[in-house]
Each structure stands twice: as C-alpha cells, then as structure tokens.
C-alpha cells in the first residue's frame, strides 16, 4: 500500500523544527530515518497531514563522551552505533543489541531517536535505555528537559513526548569497570521484531551480582525492568534461588497474545532468557544446564 497524501516541510534547524511542530501540533509527525514511520504510513496505520523532516539536521547527529556520560544525538543511525568504538567501549550492551535490529539496509536509515519516539514494545533500543538508566533529552515550547527512560515509555507507541516536542538526544552513564552485559532475543527470522527479548546489565563483585538490571521487551505494552532481579542481587546464586526468581518473574510479567506467541510461551521464553543471562554473566554453566528455572 501507499501512504495517503500529506504536506512536507524540511526543517533547517532544531529551532525551525520546533516552530513547525508548534504550528501543526497533533496534525504533524516528525520524520527522521523513516524506518518505523513510513511503514506505518504505507499500511495506513497513521496518516499525518504534515511531515516535518528533520533528516538534514546535522546538529542532532553524533556520539560524544562527556565525562561519565555518553551522549547520542537523536539522528544517530543504528549503523553508526554498530561502527562506533565509543559505543563498543562505553556501552557495549548497545553494540550487542544493535546487531539484532532489523537488517543492514534498515540500520543504514533507522535512527536512535526515531526508535525511541516510536516506542514499539518489541524493539530493542527502548529496553536498552531502560536497562542502562538513560535520560531522554527533549526540547519543546518550554525549553529543554530530561526524562528518565523509566518514565518515558507509557504504552504501545506511547511516550511522554507531547506533539510539540522534539527528541534531541539520549544520555547514558558510561559502564563501570566490573560491569557486564547480556543481550538475547527470540525472533522467527534474524532481524525480525522479537517474540521475547532481554537486555541486561550487571555489576559483578566476585561471584555475586552487586547490581543487576533486567530489561525485558516484547512481553507487554512497553519495556519492563524486572523486579525479580532483586532476588539475585547480593546473594550467592543457587539453582533453587534462580528457580524462585524465575517464578517471581513469571508472576510480574503480563505478556500479550499475538500471532507470534501466547502469554504462556512468552513467560516461558522470558524464564529461559533469565537462566541464560544469569549463567552467562556469572560464568556458571551449571545454572543453565542443571537448573529448573
């Protein structure tokens, strides 16, 4: 199918984009890489009257390290994340996740800001931002503000962005030494949206987790930080404890049903990912093989 007719405005600066959004508000949609918006328009799921194209705003592109914070401009593409030595060094979880995002031709156009603003519950980057404790930097009529990732995602395709807002960057804490990450997802075909996925970040102290954040995606209407992680923090992890944490995980998740999987299957896959994650981060194959999680 083709998109319905719309008017097109090419923003020449962030200020210009904000002016256009102030005028058109809810009738407008922001276009960056278009890898989520254009399919939605082609399928007639959305039909904006006006497209504000921010694709040419070089000021929103790039990755910078500022002290203990890594800043990623909203127009930075998935392909840029994959090639960046700063991403590989300072937030390796992101580098691992991006390899699972769609396919090369899509990663060449898709942007970080676009993915976060789209807030598809099955996409990788929103869950990573939650896991990493990112701040989403937004500019609107009242100036610039920062929204914690945990507050930003509100539901399927729903965020804290108002129609007049522009997502300009994300800020991520640089990974501490001693931290480790795990990323895995189940998908029918490499690059497809996940049936269930897990983006995890841990701080290890000897054979224990000093901190563990488990960001699950495609198990609800938005990415979730699993509280079951608390059961595995600051303790010696045993197969019995892992089984207990898995049960707690099953109870707290509220997965949806779609053509790909039932809620029961998603719970099952979430438990498998938990077991693999903990076994892999603690380098304890026994937890994966012998456990009953």
């Amino acid at each position: 199918m083709k998109a319905s007719a719309f008017a097109y405005a090419r923003a020449t600066s962030v200020a210009h984009a904000l002016e256009l959004l102030a005028v058109h508000g809810e009738k407008a949609r922001v276009l960056s890489g278009g890898q989520s918006l254009i399919p939605a328009m082609n399928l007639r799921l959305v039909a904006p009257d006006v497209i504000v194209d921010i694709g040419g705003l070089a000021e929103l592109r790039g990755i910078a390290v500022e002290g203990k914070t890594l800043v990623i401009g909203a127009l930075t593409r998935h392909a840029d994340l994959l090639k960046s030595s700063d991403i590989a060094k300072f937030v390796p979880l992101l580098a691992a996740a991006v390899a699972h995002i769609a396919h090369p031709a899509i990663r060449n156009r898709g942007t970080v800001g676009g993915s976060l603003a789209q807030a598809d519950p099955a996409s990788e980057l929103p869950a990573c931002m939650l896991t990493l404790g990112a701040s989403i930097v937004v500019r609107g009529p009242g100036g610039e503000r920062r929204i914690a990732a945990e507050e930003f995602f509100r539901g399927i395709y729903e965020t804290q962005l108002a129609p007049q807002d522009l997502l300009v960057a994300v800020e991520l804490p640089v990974a501490d030494s001693g931290s480790a990450h795990f990323f895995q997802e189940f998908a029918r075909r490499h690059g497809d949206y996940a049936i269930t996925g897990l983006a995890a970040q841990a701080l290890l102290e000897g054979d224990r987790f000093a901190a563990l954040r488990l960001g699950y995606f495609a198990v609800g209407d938005r990415p979730v930080l699993a509280e079951a992680a608390d059961k595995l923090t600051d303790v010696a992890v045993t197969p019995a404890l892992l089984a207990e944490a898995s049960d707690a995980l099953s109870d707290e998740l509220d997965p949806h049903e779609d053509q790909q999987a039932t809620p029961a299957m998603r719970r099952h896959l979430a438990r498998i990912l938990l077991r693999r994650c903990v076994a892999s981060l603690l380098k304890r194959p026994d937890l994966q093989l012998g456990g009953v999680a």
Partner: protein, 161 residues
C-alpha cells in the same frame, strides 16, 4: 501544501531534476518517473528487500524512503550496477548456480550481496545468510543464492591474490 516538491539528485551517475508529490516513495519514483523498473516493490513496508538500492553508497529500502528525502543524494540502482559491470561476476554466479529462480527478489539480493562483498572479502556462509536475512526469496532459493555469493567471494579472492 501537498503540492509537488522540487528535488535534484544523481541516479546512476546522471543528474535528475524533478517535481514529486511528498507521498511518492523512492522506489515508485525510480520505476514510474525514470522507468528504472529493475527495482522491485514487494511488501512496501520494509520486510522483503526487493526494493533495495544504494543511496550515498549504502544500501537502503527504497520503499521506506520518500523521493523528497533523496534530494541531494546519489542513488544507484540495479541498472547502474549492472551497466557499469560492477557485479557482472556476481550475476554470472547467480546464473551458474541456479540462484535466479523467478527473478523477483534478484535485484535486491544482488544489491545486498554486493554490499557485503564490498565490506568483507571472504564472508562465512553464516555471515552471508545474516547479511541477506532482510531479503525474501518467494521461490525459497536461498541455498543456491548463498552458494552464488560464496562462489563470487572466492573468485574475487583468487583474482586479487
């Protein structure tokens, strides 16, 4: 405001000036305005890969890009790659290995395969599979396609050594 927008770009090395409606995607612009019908449209929402072209040297989905977004860029289609001889060996390998089948996915497969071979001289079969994972073949001719890409990589290695 839904009026045509002026665009200026290069397509297969030739300068193109046009006025296009904002809703027109790049694939339809290439096919209908420029009669470059080698770029195919399958799913029109980014799943099948039949519309793959190069923009600024990188492969993209031309069904997920508006023609107005291609303003000021250099677009290369299967016709450009074919006419220049850049992928003559890859095309020959597709013929030799029976990787063509119905041919609908072939332009996108060739664009994606050449993209991989420019990046990596001798990719493993798994890497070929992963790089082509965004391209559907409705005849399910995948094994032959992987064979053809692998054979081309090997031939290019031998020629260069």
């Amino acid at each position: 405001m839904t009026a045509p927008v002026a665009i200026s770009l290069s397509v297969n090395g030739e300068r193109v000036e046009a006025h296009v409606l904002p809703r027109l995607n790049l694939a339809d612009f290439l096919r209908e305005h420029l009669e470059l019908t080698g770029t195919h449209l399958g799913c029109e929402h980014g799943v099948c890969g039949a519309c793959t072209v190069r923009v600024g040297g990188e492969i993209v989905r031309s069904c997920l890009m508006l023609a107005v977004q291609a303003n000021d860029t250099a677009v290369e289609t299967i016709e450009g790659l074919s006419d220049s001889g850049e992928i003559a060996d890859l095309q020959a390998a597709f013929r030799d290995r029976n990787a063509l089948q119905c041919g609908f996915c072939t332009p996108g497969m060739l664009m994606a395969a050449q993209d991989l071979l420019r990046e990596k001289r001798m990719p493993a079969r798994d890497e070929i599979r992963e790089h082509l994972s965004g391209n559907y073949c409705r005849c399910t001719g995948y094994q032959a396609i992987i064979d053809a890409v692998e054979a081309t990589a090997r031939m290019r290695m031998e020629l260069k050594v």
